[in-house]
């Protein structure tokens, strides 16, 4: 029991200080019917570090790691190269084993990092302010919808068909219980985004319009146009960014009229991790900040006049406002926010732009090559590092067959939209800097063979 420092002698000494004759005497308030005589039955006893490592390594070996094969999956989670120093720094105990910075005098490391994170996110998304993170993109998206309700005092949200179906699914779950009205749509396998349909869906009751940028098929909608239409109806535009690297190449949603910009920050620093933990980004204009969910770090001074940072505007939060809070969020994604921030600091303006350029160039090369595969059609006109192919047959079994051949080809729309016949032939392919020319050739060759 390597994690437990007390010795039998310690335990006996401490019981005598307490004045209890046995450890059982300390559990006297547990009703007899609920007391166990020994360890919980049916479970194994403790194990050595070596034994645990063997057990978990065996489970890990049953999975196909992304880095071990040609890999093209995206749709809300992207494989990027994370510099070694990021993982080294976030494992420093002073970050890893710290708590939420409620005692600012001894938490300036975390607080200053959060201030830097908020500043980086605000600039990247093109907004005045960002919070100190949410759980992930999908929950940040729903929180934005509820915030729009508080700001506009209206409760109808219009979702573009290009929003990630899991994000829509989360919103649908929550709206069942909050009374928000959602209008949603399926994407159409077409080069054009559904901007016109979204704009047509806006009416006087609309609180917000939710648009993903780039969208689930990789297409880039015209946010400015949608923002103008939303604002004319006194509705807010919520832009959802699932691939923040894209913002090294395309205009920031905040600069195009989005009122709230939310995103999934996993691409920078965090890694794939089978879906979590990730880091939700949340930014808005200064005038909306008091309706924002989540923690905020702000600058101030200490008693000697030195600059320092504290958590602030906490009268929005659950530990102060209880049932009147803007959200129930407490723990967020602090360490993932740190990883995001370090990665973005290492990149800087110059590195992020280069990274975005390389992603785009490789995606263009892959799109052109894959469009040459007989029967395969490129759906997108516009894209950043992800695009959709229309296959001559249902994509889901093709993806499985390609996996058997050692190529992780992308995400089939059948996986994301089961039972939707109009989408079944769609295959979404993501191409980041981690993809090589050989990988692209391997995919093209295998796809040709499978479709033949």
């Amino acid at each position: 029991m390597r994690y437990l420092p007390l010795t039998p002698t310690d335990r006996a000494d401490m019981l005598s200080v307490i004045g209890a004759d046995s450890i059982d005497a300390l559990f006297v308030d547990v009703p007899e019917s609920a007391r166990l005589d020994g360890p919980v039955p049916g479970l194994p006893n403790h194990a050595s570090e070596l034994a645990v490592e063997r057990h978990l390594s065996a489970l890990a070996a049953k999975n196909v790691a992304a880095g071990s094969v040609p890999f093209f999956l995206g749709c809300g989670a992207y494989r990027h190269h994370v510099p070694a120093s990021v993982d080294h720094l976030i494992q420093r105990g002073e970050y890893l084993t710290a708590y939420t910075p409620y005692q600012p005098e001894i938490a300036q490391g975390t607080l200053q990092m959060l201030f830097e994170f908020q500043s980086q996110v605000a600039r990247l998304l093109g907004c005045d302010v960002a919070n100190a993170s949410m759980y992930d993109g999908s929950t940040a998206c729903w929180e934005a919808v509820t915030m729009a309700r508080r700001v506009t005092r209206k409760a109808k949200a219009v979702f573009s068909g290009g929003v990630h179906p899991h994000y829509v699914s989360v919103a649908k779950t929550m709206a069942k219980y909050t009374g928000d009205v959602l209008t949603t749509a399926l994407p159409v396998l077409d080069a054009a985004t559904d901007d016109d349909a979204v704009i047509a869906g806006i009416d006087a009751d609309t609180s917000c319009v939710v648009v993903q940028y780039p969208d689930i098929l990789g297409r880039i909608p015209d946010l400015r146009r949608i923002a103008d239409a939303a604002h004319a109806a006194k509705a807010l535009l919520i832009a959802v960014v699932t691939e923040p690297v894209a913002l090294g190449a395309i205009e920031a949603p905040g600069n195009l009229g989005a009122d709230i910009v939310v995103g999934e920050g996993q691409s920078l620093g965090v890694g794939l991790q089978f879906g979590g933990p990730y880091v939700g980004l949340f930014a808005c204009s200064e005038k909306l900040v008091r309706q924002m969910p989540g923690r905020l770090c702000g600058e101030t001074v200490d008693a000697e006049g030195k600059r320092g940072f504290v958590l602030t505007l906490s009268t929005r939060e659950q530990h102060i406002r209880r049932e009147k809070a803007t959200s129930n969020i407490c723990t967020n994604s602090g360490l993932c926010a740190l990883a995001f921030s370090i990665h973005l600091t290492l990149l800087g303006e110059k590195g992020l732009r280069k990274l975005a350029e390389v992603n785009h160039a490789k995606a263009c090369a892959a799109a052109d090559r894959l469009a040459q595969v007989p029967g395969v059609q490129l759906v997108n006109e516009s894209f950043f590092n992800e695009f959709t192919l229309k296959l001559p047959t249902e994509a889901r079994p093709v993806v499985r067959e390609l996996a058997d051949r050692g190529v992780l080809a992308g995400v089939s729309l059948g996986r994301l939209y089961p039972g939707e016949d109009t989408l079944g032939n769609g295959l979404v392919v993501a191409v980041t800097e981690t993809v090589t020319e050989e990988d692209i050739e391997a995919l093209a060759t295998a796809l040709t063979e499978v479709l033949a």
Partner: protein, 524 residues
Amino acid sequence: MSVNQSGWRPEMGDASQATQTTFTGNRALMLEEALIFEIGSNETTGVDIDDAPKAASRLGNHARKGAIGLPGLSEPEAVRHYTRLSRQNYAIDLGLFPLGSCTMKHNPRLNERMARLPGFADLHPLGPIDTVQGALELIHQLAHWLVTLTNMDSVAMSPKAGAHGELCGILAIKAALEKRGEGHRKTILVPESAHGTNPATAAFAGFTVKAIPATAEGRIDTQALKDRLGPDVAGVMITNPNTCGLFERDLKEISDAVHAAGGYVYCDGANFNAIVGRVRPGDLGVDAMHINLHKTFSTPHGGGGPGSGPVVFSKALTPFAPLPFVEQQDGRFVLVEEETAGEHHADSFGRMVAFHGQMGMFTRALSYILSHGADGLKQVSEDAVLNANYVLRSLDDTLDAPFGGSGPCMHEALFSDANLAEGFSTLDVAKGLIDEGYHPMTVYFPLVVHGAMLVEPTETESKAALDQFIGALKSVGERAKAGDQALKSAPHFAPRRRLDETLAARKPVLAWKDSVVPVAEAAE
């Protein structure tokens, strides 16, 4: 009795006056560090990226115009920046971290290594099911442990943290009521001592919150709760052990009464650390309980997350649990998502989050659980409770322990500000502890005690570490009782003195506003 091991004397005056100023503002190993926006530049990068053949842009007319305004640092500068910043943080690795209700226990490094195995860390959530069998098996194994340790029927693994787990439980209750045609039950009863997330969660899900008073001994007023039950009550949210550090003896009786009145029992599992391996919530009539993997099962708090909050369910609520979840079918693991839910899980209240939950936390938690095993986890709760009672009985002659007569405490010891000198507060004690080299305990929570100080030492502290902490808190407590003015301006030795929180809230500065230096293009 005054114990002062620090050598500090009140007549030495304010420490800052004795400190000579330095050119850098540094004080030896206490290093000041500027913001990345002040030290970085938009010409610097710490990452070399291989070129790719140029291609004609497919960005349409969406290309970014103007600078983003992001500073960059080279690798040596970045490593130094974040290392210097890290040294301004307190952490479990540095010392005892007695935050009540937060369970700041040691974070084993084996767990970090396991979570970084490429087979887990470099795995896409939408990978074909046959390529992620080991990951699904791991989730299935952890789920089995959680269900068995709690003697519940099922577990929803996807909630992202404790508060998200609360929401999961409350939505399942709502779905169950609606299925019964009793959606009109709109009231959730919450004890006054509850975590702030409880009422916030209930309100977020559209319920009305009614507070239930505590008895003089720090437990739920069972009679008051029973009297409040009725056809409008959807359920109760109870923390057990409660936030006063006491086991709710009547929980089974309360559960039976709530069930008889047609409601459900939600248990806030934030304090499961006190009873894991020794008491099973399922034996107490609980219908839903979240488990903070980042508390009981040692996954790191990371300066505020990520957490993970799986929710265990009783048989009554299992049909309403959220998607997705892992099932074993014919020796193969499958993910039950929207598409297959119709056949398997028609009453599920739906999806709470993209993908399948906090896999990185699952790996760490299972690594911890396997390390301890059933026998070790029993020892965990016993040592956690022993350490807390040792703190309680070693300090109850110095500080007021309002519920010291209510029997043994569980994993945390609660004190109040009742016997501090006039004009001295819990905050002064907390800030005094900082100078002694400790992170303070949880302060001003629970709200049912004036000037609450909630101390949770956890089971990973040695007796020697506890003795030194007890000595430090005794010393600070005696100073607060004696009216030592120097305490009012503590901390004196931390990287910062008390910070002006009023200024921060009145004139919020939430982001760096100036451009990055040097400015090659206009940043804004």
